[in-house]
């Protein structure tokens, strides 16, 4: 297999680079070891920052956020809800920080309007009555799945390819160039060699792991952030705590829910991370200071992501246990400059969802310079098309479509989020277009399936049965799929199991273990005969 540019990682950065290059007429292949947005791109707040969060810790990032926020609201409006945001302080918060906030913001080009405290309760009734200051900024929310899926779809439309479940296992390096990249198909085990003029490492938190395979050391810090999804939307706007960034101080709406976060905990590896119970408790307790009802509300899911932070030499202070002082800016690393001296290898990492487009532009500029291509960037002018591939991630869209269509045979496979068969069929078509097999996990990633209060108890088997009927699953695959899907859901349920969700989890286990015996199925899905005890 051959291409001009091989991009490693199908998070928003890799997707963005592919689209940016594709719009300049460059052929790209994206390889992804899992699925779209499997890392930090899928494990974040979905917050389009105004920049105000970073005015004190990282003014350069604040400026970039401010500019990209403005740009994306025009270019990817269908992925964005321009909710606006509030920064609020409660009694006891640092008064100097509060006093400096408007002027520090202004210095970064960010407008923060002071709001009367009586008015702020009319805007957001859920806010605590212990507020001492409130400012309005132009934060917004952005659907990271829709954004990535649409970005990839547009790149594909312009000739790029996506290979999912394809892990980089090695590089063939000859005379200071990567001649070929060896990629293993995680489903079949087959290894394939891809020759590319340039290799872009956009593996996010795994950028260090990928670079190391090419003999290029990148020092990274892994900062885990945990987030909680409420059952209902608590506030209309993004609500930030007006203080130096710490745990549990942002609540972001996401369609019909709200997302509360986050934490910042150093982890040793980005591979196996879980939302932990002590994080959940810290987030709820802190969040409830701004919005008291968070102490009582039902949470339906927890998730986490790893921020890929770049360790800068000489800036490794021990006074920063939660890595919040490490820059949230991005870095483009030209590996010709490093000891590895590779002429056609570049790493793009760090950064934020809000600045993904800028990161992609800079990376594509570098690639084009190396390739001697004169085409300028177009992603700051050409709007991102709204494609059918990405439409079913939006809460509320599937129900509306289903209610309008009134087809009696179009049964709802997911009743909590009202996802019918016809939607599943469309998603299967999309997955096939991306060279994939329609698995339970892949379908749920591209829809609301399994994301309602039942957390997959019922829809998992309904979907599995349907996929068998349609011949998309065969043999014991269904067991393997159910196990994988339920385990994945469980990661997000497990730290939130008290009250009603605990009862729901008991039902889930009673059906899937008690009756279906999924815990007894071997990894291959085979259950052996009865044993003599």
């Amino acid at each position: 297999m051959q291409t001009q540019v091989l991009i490693i990682g199908a998070g928003i950065t890799g997707a963005g680079v592919a689209r940016d290059l594709a719009l300049r007429g460059v052929h790209c292949i994206i390889v992804e070891k899992q699925d779209v947005n499997a890392g930090a791109s899928g494990g974040n707040h979905g917050l389009l920052h105004s920049g105000a969060r970073y005015i004190a810790s990282d003014p350069a990032s604040a400026v970039e956020c401010q500019r990209e926020n403005h740009l994306l609201k025009h270019l990817a409006a269908h992925c964005i809800e321009a909710t606006g945001g509030l920064f609020v302080a409660v009694a006891g918060d640092d008064e100097n920080y509060i006093a400096d906030f408007p002027s520090t913001s202004r210095r970064c080009g960010i407008t923060a309007h002071e709001i009367d405290l009586k008015e702020v309760h009319e805007l957001e009734p859920a806010l605590s009555n212990r507020l001492i200051a409130a400012y309005a900024v132009n934060d917004a929310t952005i659907d990271p799945f829709k954004l990535s899926l649409d970005t990839i779809a547009d790149a594909q439309l312009h000739g790029s390819r996506l290979l999912r479940y394809s892990r980089v296992v090695g590089f063939e390096i000859v005379h200071g160039r990567i001649r070929a990249t060896r990629v293993k198909d995680e489903l079949t085990g087959r290894v394939l060699s891809i020759a590319a003029d340039i290799v872009v490492n956009a593996a996010g938190a795994w950028a260090g792991v990928v670079a190391a395979q090419a003999g290029a050391p990148i020092r990274m810090r892994y900062s885990k952030g945990t987030l909680l999804v409420t059952q209902n939307r608590i506030a209309y706007r993004v609500i930030n705590r007006l203080r130096k960034a710490t745990d549990g101080d942002i609540l972001v709406p996401g369609g019909t829910v709200s997302i509360l976060g986050t934490t910042s905990e150093r982890v040793a590896s980005p591979d196996v991370i879980y939302p932990e119970i002590h994080e959940v408790d810290a987030i709820i307790d802190e969040g409830a200071v701004m919005l008291p009802q968070l102490a009582e509300t039902r949470f339906i899911r927890a998730y986490c992501g790893v921020r890929p932070l770049l360790e800068e030499a000489g800036k490794r202070g021990t006074d920063d246990p939660d890595d919040r002082a490490v820059s949230r800016g991005f870095a483009l690393i030209d590996h010709l400059a490093g000891p590895e001296k590779l002429a056609n290898f570049v790493t793009i990492t760090g950064g934020k969802l809000t600045t993904y487009r800028l990161m992609a532009e800079r990376t594509a500029d570098w690639v084009c310079r190396r390739l001697g291509i004169q085409q300028p960037c177009r992603t700051h002018r050409v709007p991102l098309p709204n494609t059918v591939d990405a439409r079913w991630t939006e809460p509320g869209l599937a129900p509306n479509t289903w209610l309008r269509s009134h087809a009696p045979n179009d049964a709802l496979l997911c009743e909590c989020e009202m996802v019918p068969r016809s939607v599943v069929e469309q998603i299967v078509t999309t997955i096939r277009k991306q060279d994939g097999r329609p698995s339970l996990k892949a379908i749920s990633l591209r829809s609301r399936i399994g994301k309602g209060p039942c957390q997959g108890t019922f829809c998992s088997q309904r979907l599995a049965a349907y996929l068998y009927d349609r011949n998309y699953l065969a043999g014991s695959q269904g067991i393997v799929e159910l196990r994988a899907f339920l385990r994945e859901r469980w990661r997000g349920q497990q730290p939130l199991l008290w009250d009603t969700p605990l009862a729901q989890a008991e039902l889930l286990e009673a059906m899937h273990c008690g009756l279906f015996c999924l815990e007894l199925a071997a990894e291959g899905g085979v259950i052996e005969g009865l044993d003599h005890a």
């Binding site: 002590h278 045979n409 049965a465 068998y468 009927d469 497990q494 009673a510 273990c513 259950i527 005890a533």
Partner: protein, 432 residues
């Protein structure tokens, strides 16, 4: 004390899951004047399979062939398990009594008595269980003998795919064919309970037989989802078997299914006839222990509507799903009497990070510790109240989901707890 209708009884059973229903039955059979109160509860979610002990040890995931031998081993290895307080003879008696009751109520169960059966599930796995409704009897037989079968499913019935079951079983059972048909008079989305009620009528059965018959070919057995009637399953099964000229069997569906409805309806019909006063769909709002030791319970649907005065109480209120236990971020409580709950030290120990973790989740072994007479105990094993008994899944030191012992645990502990309660009532009577 509110001035409301007052009901007097010897025993009030709280909970209408299998444990509560069993306790009411066994109490009535002993001539104990019994009131049964509870929300519809988990029985609607019963798979209909009667498990005794299907897996032991859980951490090894070892499926049990001879449940009686495995019970002996369980008693040695987990002496705190509720089964540890009951001899095999008593368990046998309790199960036999229950099966006899079900048979005389027109819904016989079938078992091998010495060995567990292997029952096919809707995902095509095989579950070890002790007894199955007569409607499912040929399933384990056909599976064991690899009998050529036709598995039938229906357009519009979600979560049940004959193709899925056959595909999963194909490795060990190659002679399976599948058939999808429209359910007579059914259009759009189907629900098993509606289908089962429809099959209670002769005409619908005849249409179904006609729809399947042309596809029989050389198969020797026909498998259907669990829809063969609610009340008169014997008749429905007989008609289909005759009409198709082959043994017919049911495969359980996803829960809630008709197997739970059948038990609910059967007990709802039979218990009042045995003299049990049933206050269904009602909950206990408040309790007082009177100076004479008797209990007063405020009971009603949406509010306390009446008071039940009882010499003794049997707590069969289930776990979290059944609302017998509840939890907040800081701990687990018993919801009605606030009796002590044995539980892990804190929430971080409740669940494993892996849903399918082989030894199971510690929270599932939380619950009420009881003495040898099934009375909840607190500090240093002291009995909390001499006339408060508990049975079923609310008991601690068991994991009914992973051990596949839910029904047996419900029936056997209800049986033993009712016997202990009977003793207590006799003692009180003779002390007068």
């Amino acid at each position: 004390m509110p001035d409301k209708e007052e009901t007097l009884c010897d025993l009030i059973v709280i909970g209408t899951g299998l444990a509560g229903l069993s306790a009411a039955l066994f109490a009535a059979r002993r001539g104990i004047d019994t009131v049964l109160v509870g929300l519809t509860g988990e029985i609607g979610f019963a798979s209909g399979l009667l498990d005794l002990l299907g897996v032991h040890p859980v951490a090894d995931g070892r499926m049990v062939k001879d449940p009686w031998r495995a019970l002996e081993r369980l008693r040695r290895e987990e002496p705190g398990h509720p089964y540890g307080k009951i001899d095999n003879d008593v368990i046998r008696k309790s199960i036999a009594d229950m099966l006899a009751f079900l048979a005389e109520s027109g819904y016989p169960y079938w078992c091998d008595s010495q060995a567990n059966l292997r029952m096919v599930t809707p995902v095509g796995t095989c579950k070890p269980t002790y007894a199955v409704p007569h409607t499912m009897q040929y399933g384990p037989v056909a599976l064991a003998q690899k009998t050529p079968c036709l598995l039938v499913d229906f357009e519009g019935l979600k979560g049940y795919s004959a193709i899925q079951i056959a595909a999963k079983l194909s490795a060990c059972h190659p002679h399976l064919r599948t058939l999808r048909i429209a359910f007579p008079e059914g259009r759009g989305e189907l629900y098993t309970e509606h289908m089962a009620r429809a099959l209670e009528t002769t005409a619908v059965r005849a249409t179904l037989i006609e729809a399947i018959r042309p596809h029989i070919g050389d198969v020797l057995c026909i498998g259907l989802p669990a829809i063969l009637g609610i009340y008169d399953t014997v008749r429905v099964l007989e008609d289909l078997t005759q009409g198709l000229g082959r043994p017919v069997f049911e495969i359980p569906t996803m829960v809630p299914g008709v197997t739970g409805v059948r038990l609910q309806e059967l007990f709802g019909r039979r218990l009042p006839a045995l003299g049990v006063r049933c206050l269904m769909q009602q909950r206990v709002w408040n309790t007082w222990r009177r100076t004479d030791g008797r209990w007063s319970l405020a009971v009603g649907q949406n509010t306390a509507e009446r008071t039940v005065r009882a010499r003794s109480v049997m707590l069969c209120s289930g776990r979290f799903f059944g609302k017998g236990l509840c939890a907040d971020r800081h701990g687990i409580r018993e919801t009605i009497f606030d009796v002590p709950v044995v539980q892990p030290f804190d929430r971080t120990l409740w669940h494993n990070k892996d849903l399918l973790h082989a030894p199971g989740h510690p929270i599932n072994r939380a619950g009420l510790a009881v003495d040898h007479r099934f009375r909840p105990t607190g500090d240093q094993g002291r009995v909390v109240f001499p006339n408060l008994f508990a049975a079923g899944t609310i008991l601690a030191y068991q994991d009914w989901v992973r051990q596949k012992c839910g029904s047996g645990l419900a029936i056997a502990t209800a049986y033993a707890a009712v016997a202990a309660c009977h003793e207590y009532l006799k003692e009180v009577e003779s002390a007068k």
